[in-house]
Subunit: 584 residues, 2 copies
């Protein structure tokens, strides 16, 4: 073995060992020459599962899905060049949705960068502001005690990735040739012990008691709401929020991705029909809150967004991760950058109990009215209306299923049509940047972890955007149910002003692809069924939940008809609301 | 129409009009809500062809392939969020391979950025050092004469994109709501005239006569070579280089992607077997050049790279685009940052004629020896050896075909096995960053332009990496022949030191996918044939060239067997070389 060679492998072994000792249990590794030493270390390091994925874009989202499901950092590695560029979409989503990723990009050494070398691009700070931290490491074999450096580097990277807020970090790792030795698989050095080279002691981000007392004054206002955005409900937040809402008599408006909507503890305090109720202008005008407790980012609901903007509540307390400020409406009057669960527990201790009055009753009654109108109508719906998919699925899937939803229409439909209490599931989605990219791979990342059944509901365009995900499922024999709402194009645009633009609409927004998704998915190794009615849908979903492997259930839909049906359902719900005894 | 609305469309119309007036004839547009005003302008602007592509990563490469084929700038537009992040791989490749792209990303306005708004990421300088220029525009409707601004902005962007060297530019375009008006398709304002708002007069980058006289002194050395890298042969360079080589008696070593290898003018001055010849250590040691004229980047050949590094020629003149310095070996003694064609013409005028001596004869004889050994063996080859594909294709395709080659093995095989004079074709590839991503989409971009037949040779992993490309072909009914060398994994790694790593090799480098590509490609709308022998291959290739539509011909191969056969061919060629009368 030459010295340079030994240095690459020694560094890779130290890096990998520290990843494991810092709590990383999974690495998603994309094949390449420059990263060969890392691949060898990943493959041979005890305690680490290495997932090989050939399409880096899908690999990034796959790692993201794993890390979100695990609530733990996942490593993601690739070779030099555009391979690294392909990771950007997932890095952006991880940054915005606060998911810890440790991205390792192999690179050429500095002396050939920007000198026209093959497969060499400027990878230094490649991900710009979209990583929490980045480092361009020296190359193994350079002078100095680099083994200590690499160990400290990894401990620090994992620490930043899992900090407050969590997110992606980027280690750029130049490697000189020869990259790995010829011959049999090298045996890498192993050090004894299991403690990381550097342990990180971290202070809790708990608000001061005096701050909590001040914050709790918000509850003197009766006309208040608790608004929970995507992933607000981590840890024991659902129970605390439920107690708080019940105590102060404020309705809980929980986004479908908040991990609060479909939890039994919150069912009785939610006004889960708010997305519909607030489309009624009279109700919205009469129910502007004067106090808002917002946990996390804004929910997806546009009517709720309009309400908060119009209300400009005199007290709008926003609890957010340190360094973030998720208030695009600029309506917050207090931002609490602290651990949400600790803050909410502190507020619960200090909140006064209030007898539930008209405010509470109005929200709950209105919400129940629209839910009952929808549910009654959906029960009789024989057409494959997209709005019925979630209700049917929530009934079909086992408890504790992870339901992953695509952006554009699926998350909106779940918001509108997904009733609290319908099932006990967790819901996840890429609501950091809301892309339609990488959705399948993200869901499969969660499935790969193997903790619970995973069901994905996704539109056809999003599905076609991520065929790399099907290849991951085939390679790693993953199990999941993927429901594809196939309306042959971009369904969300039918709800936008440009829907009347005729041919231009169809070409630039409707964008029908004309492909039959069933043989495509089948050729990529999935079991596929295209259903024609709800019986077939139930049958397919039930079968999929009962067997291992990837099942794709294609639900055909018509974009124009769906928009019409959607309008009819909303109209029916609002008619029921107006008939209910709600002050307006 | 509200004022904000009118402002978005007016700005989009002005932007689009200036694109056309500045010479942009094609725009690749990805669907999205924030970019709706741009889409309307693209769809209705005379003189512009709008190509809608739903996967932004593929869209980026598609635009790149178009712009490279056209040798003219192409616009590329998308909505906000990870959509923009998906363009990075193609932007990187465009930057490194000097292809002009005008990237337009719609964005949310500054007041909601970094405040947790939906589908909002930091898009300012998103592409970092990988664009020649970027601007974060004000939002239409802000005070000031923004129409003049947008017109000047576009003229400037196209000017930079088509400058020396050409490359991608990025315009980030925030748009406020309402984005477009409801109702029928709006009629956009049209201004009279066809001149751009700003015409750009550009100085020629011609070297000074005194510099040329100095440079020409290099030709006093007999032991010289002319080395031409990817895309060196633009314009009239092939003829000039051929005259120069013949005049001074220096062999031409032309990369397969140089656009010189397969041109009839250069056949008699090439030593086109250099990649094989230089594997003979004795020949390489005895034929180190003392003078090198390098045009453009380094060729792909590793043996040639080793020769140049070992030679450290006392005179190594590198002609490169202004601002670039493609010399990773750090062996150049003079860098000429000027127009290559003008420089070469100037050198030809000043070069002394030399009778061709032993130096010339050695290179030509050696090259002919290895070529004849390979060609003889290939003629009898009945197995589907990957090295035979290019020879067969070069015979089968019409003259002036654009042959696009994938990275990893295809470009290397073309180098080794592709004889000068075999056909009159141009060869293209993504040799800026050498990624395996986006290859299909790039080739289809060239095909979309419709100038000439397009044939792509690509490996299975690269093909699977870019299934988005198949969707482009289906949507736009494009015609091309795609030959997929299917060795079920990463063939190039079998030639690397890690080939002996057993299971770890297979999992991390071999990476078999186990998918049958034929039904997959068929489901995505291609005509597919998996061939079992050369007769079937010829038949399939001939049919494909004679009919419109996308034809995929799958050539099955075995990675291990292919590596063995490859070694045998090289050994046979070197044995013939040693038997030839070449000084060593």
């Amino acid at each position: 073995m030459t010295a340079a060679l030994s240095a690459n492998l020694t560094a890779a072994a130290a890096i990998t060992e520290e990843l494991v000792r810092s709590g990383v249990r999974h690495v998603v590794s994309c094949p390449g020459g420059r990263s060969a030493a890392l691949a060898v270390a990943f493959a041979t390091q005890p305690g680490l599962r290495d997932w090989v994925v050939t399409d880096e874009r899908s690999a990034g989202f796959f790692a993201l899905g794993m890390a979100r499901e695990l609530r733990a950092p996942v490593a993601l590695a690739c070779t030099s060049g555009t391979a690294a560029a392909n990771l950007l979409p997932a890095v952006v989503e991880a940054s915005r949705s606060e998911v810890p990723l440790v991205v390792l990009t192999a690179d050429r050494p500095p002396e050939v960068r920007d000198f026209g070398a093959a497969q060499t691009i400027d990878q230094v700070r490649l991900y710009g502001s979209h990583v929490r931290w980045s480092a361009d490491a020296p190359s193994p074999g350079e002078p100095g005690d680099l083994e200590r450096y690499f160990r400290a580097l990894v401990c620090r990277a994992v620490s930043v990735a899992t900090g407050a807020p969590p997110g992606p970090v980027h280690l750029n790792l130049p490697m000189r040739e020869p990259l790995v030795p010829a011959g049999a698989l090298p045996v890498l050095p192993v050090t004894s012990g299991s403690r990381p080279a550097v342990r990180v002691a971290r202070a809790a981000t708990v608000p001061a008691p005096s701050d909590l007392a001040l914050l709790a004054e918000i509850f003197t206002e009766e006309r208040g709401v608790i608004v929970c955005g995507p992933r607000a409900g981590l840890g024991d937040v659902p129970g605390v929020v439920a107690s708080l809402a019940a105590r102060v008599g404020w309705p809980l408006l929980a986004d479908p991705l908040s991990e609060l909507r479909f939890r039994p503890e919150t069912t009785t305090v939610q006004a889960d029909g708010y997305d519909l109720v607030l489309r009624d202008e009279a109700f919205a005008a009469a129910h502007r809150p004067r106090a808002v407790l917002q946990v996390g980012a804004l929910p997806v609901s546009k009517p709720l967004e309009r309400l908060l903007a119009a209300a400009r509540a005199p007290a709008h307390v926003l609890i957010a991760s340190p360094g973030t400020w998720p208030d695009p409406l600029h309506v917050a009057t207090t931002v609490v950058q602290a651990d949400a669960a600790a803050t909410l527990r502190g507020l619960l201790e200090r909140a006064p109990a209030r007898a539930h009055g008209a405010w509470w009753a109005d929200w709950r009654t209105a919400s129940e009215a629209v839910r009952s109108a929808l549910d009654g109508r959906l029960a009789c719906e024989t057409r494959l209306f997209e709005g019925k998919v979630f209700g049917e699925l929530l009934r079909a899937v086992p408890a504790d299923t992870l339901m992953h939803v695509g952006n554009s229409m699926p998350v909106r439909d779940l918001d509108t049509f997904g009733a609290a209490g319908a099932a006990r599931v967790d819901v996840a989605g890429n609501r950091g940047a809301n892309g339609i990219d990488g959705v399948l791979s993200t869901a499969l990342g969660a499935a790969a972890v193997g903790r619970r059944p995973v069901v994905l509901v996704v539109g056809d365009l999003s599905f076609l955007h991520d065929l790399g995900g099907l290849q991951i499922a085939a390679r790693h024999r993953l199990s999941a149910l993927v429901v594809v709402i196939d309306n042959d194009g971009g369904g969300v645009f039918s709800f936008l002003p440009q829907a009347g633009y005729g041919d231009v609409f169809e070409r630039h927004f409707g964008t029908p692809h004309g492909l039959d998704l069933a043989p495509l998915a089948a050729a990529a190794g999935a079991r596929v069924r295209r259903v024609r009615d709800w019986d077939a849908f139930h049958d397919a979903a039930a079968r999929a939940c009962a067997q291992p492997g990837l099942d794709v259930v294609v639900v055909p839909s018509d974009r124009a008809l769906n928009a019409t049906l959607h309008d009819e359902y909303v109209a029916a719900a609002l008619a029921r609301l107006r008939g209910a005894e709600v002050a307006a």
